[in-house]
């Protein structure tokens, strides 16, 4: 304890006994915790964990632990409302924000309760801060940024040669964040990592958390070697799937999906494109004379039993580096940067487009 400090903050004793009692894998894994005070009466609690990458689940668990602690201290929690969700980048890491407004009642006295949390992380390292007081969002955000930016965590191995953080907007909300990183492993293969976390309010008092993590290995020749994909919904693993070749050279897509074991053999002569090959394809499209480019992709969230056709069509007559990606019934129109990553885009819908 005490290895990590929030610059300019004053240390205080932890006020979250429930953190020790709650059977939360994430919070029990917290290796370092720091409690400080800002101008509000409530202390600011910050944590660093080194065994987690599920930001949305982590944010939810931390918020629930804080609300539970407020209930233990002040009375019965009720009238819960999701006050704010947010996402973005802090100190080179993706972060998620979650704020709850509620009432706490004891002896017929009703008080307003407020809990805000922020979590950030990449790889196995995650940071989190929580504060149980209304307002102070900007101060809280600044303290969180100082905590994340001022903490030495060591470099990822192998170090990525490219990193990207993309915010997911739905309407006027920013419910999610995507972190991608590319590195070269000891065999010279390209390792692509993609971590996506979403906090989605589904009604005024309910959120759904979704974390997914996928990695793929691509050989120097651009051929996909293997891919892995894990999805966690509301803190529970809903899918854990992999794509690898068997001894006969056929692809095998299998693992666990919604509690059931699945295994599908797919034609080994097919060459699906991994994340890295997909980026290269975008670059080739804009550099060449072709209007469209098609490839196969393994997208287990949509259909783990087969490869899907993905077609990219240039649409850059008016907007530079704009293209439309058709993936089954989904069509995504967006602008791409020079490396092949999407800068921004809109998903539209409609069959037969």
């Amino acid at each position: 304890m005490g290895l990590y400090t929030v610059p300019g903050a004053v240390q205080a004793v932890s006020e979250f006994p429930s953190l020790q009692n709650r059977p939360s894998r994430r919070l029990l894994a917290a290796q370092h915790a720091r409690s400080t005070r800002c101008k509000a009466e409530s202390p600011l609690e910050c944590y660093l964990i080194t065994s987690g990458r599920d930001l949305a689940s982590f944010a939810n668990t931390l918020a629930e632990a804080n609300i539970e602690a407020m209930g233990t201290r002040y009375g019965t929690v009720g009238n819960r409302r999701v006050f704010h969700t947010g996402a973005g980048e802090v100190a080179g890491m993706p972060y998620l924000a979650l704020e709850w407004l509620y009432t706490v009642e004891k002896d017929a006295e009703l008080r307003v309760g407020f809990t805000k949390v922020r979590v950030a992380g990449k790889g196995e390292t995650a940071f989190a801060c929580a504060h149980n007081a209304i307002g102070y969002r900007a101060t809280f955000g600044e303290a969180f940024a100082r905590f994340v930016g001022g903490t030495e965590t060591g470099d990822a191995e192998p170090p990525p040669f490219y990193e990207d953080i993309a915010q997911i907007d739905v309407g006027d909300r920013a419910p999610g964040i995507v972190y991608s990183a590319y590195s070269v492993d000891a065999d010279g293969d390209i390792l692509a990592e993609l971590a996506q976390s979403l906090i989605i309010p589904v009604d005024p008092s309910t959120i759904v958390t979704n974390d997914s993590y996928s990695i793929s290995y691509t050989g120097p020749d651009g051929a996909l070697i293997s891919a892995f994909d894990i999805s966690v919904e509301n803190g529970e693993i809903t899918s854990n799937l992999s794509l690898q070749r068997n001894e006969n050279g056929a692809w095998v897509s299998g693992g666990t999906l919604q509690g059931k074991d699945i295994e599908y053999e797919i034609d080994g002569s097919l060459e699906p494109a991994g994340e890295w090959r997909q980026l290269a394809a975008v670059r080739e499209l804009f550099a060449g004379d072709e209007e469209t480019l098609s490839m196969l992709a393994w997208i287990p969230d949509a259909d783990p039993t087969r490869f899907m056709d993905a077609t990219l069509t240039r649409d850059d007559s008016e907007v530079d580096r704009q293209a439309t990606l058709a993936l089954g019934p989904i069509s995504l129109s967006g602008r791409f940067d020079e490396s092949g990553h999407i800068i921004d885009g809109d998903v539209s819908a409609g069959p037969g487009r």
């Binding site: 949509a302 087969r306 899907m308 089954g328």
Partner: protein
Amino acid sequence: MRIERAPGASQPLGDSVVSTLHVGNAAGIAEALSGIDGLDVLGRGDGTVRIRHRASPTIAGGDPAQYLESTWVVDFDEPAVRALVDSTAAGDGAQPAAAELARFVFGHIAHKTYARSFDLASQVAAGAAGDCTEHAVFLTALARAHGHPARVVVGSLVVETPGELQAFGHAWTEVHDGERWRIYDATIPHDEAGQARLRYTPVGLLRDEGPGYALSMLEVAVRMPTRITEVADSP
């Protein structure tokens, strides 16, 4: 989903209603809607499809016999579902009516929540939580287990209560009664609808009930209108 009456439209609306659906791909969706019994496509414009909605539209065709099997999604052969199939069997061994099963599903799913994205029938049986898709999948499973051909349908639901129209993206179950497909909505059993008038507009079936169901759901979900306007009695 936003919904607006046409100026001067009657309240309440009559049995046959016209409306304009605002959609992403009018041509594709008009084609999809043309395969629905009880619904007429009157025309289409730029991002809109004009329809006439008659009583209880259902997806046209489909051999009822192909909707009796236990599948990866509608997995009534799983122990969690089997236990409830046995408990819903009629005392005299007769086949329970689909409406009875809808009421059972409504009661079994005690935790009405949007927090589940899409559970398999066995997950619904065990977890007793979910929204319209969980109700539809679980009712489909129980119906099939009792020998009723049944399938999961996705579309929009317009709820008319005195002085108010509301529209939602929705899922429900079609059960074949030996003559034709009929709508059963376990989220609103028939005797729970009260004064509400319910108008279902299917946009498609869950065709893939295997591990690739998500793509199938997406395929029909993207046909959903973003808003419904000019709702009026059919002339």
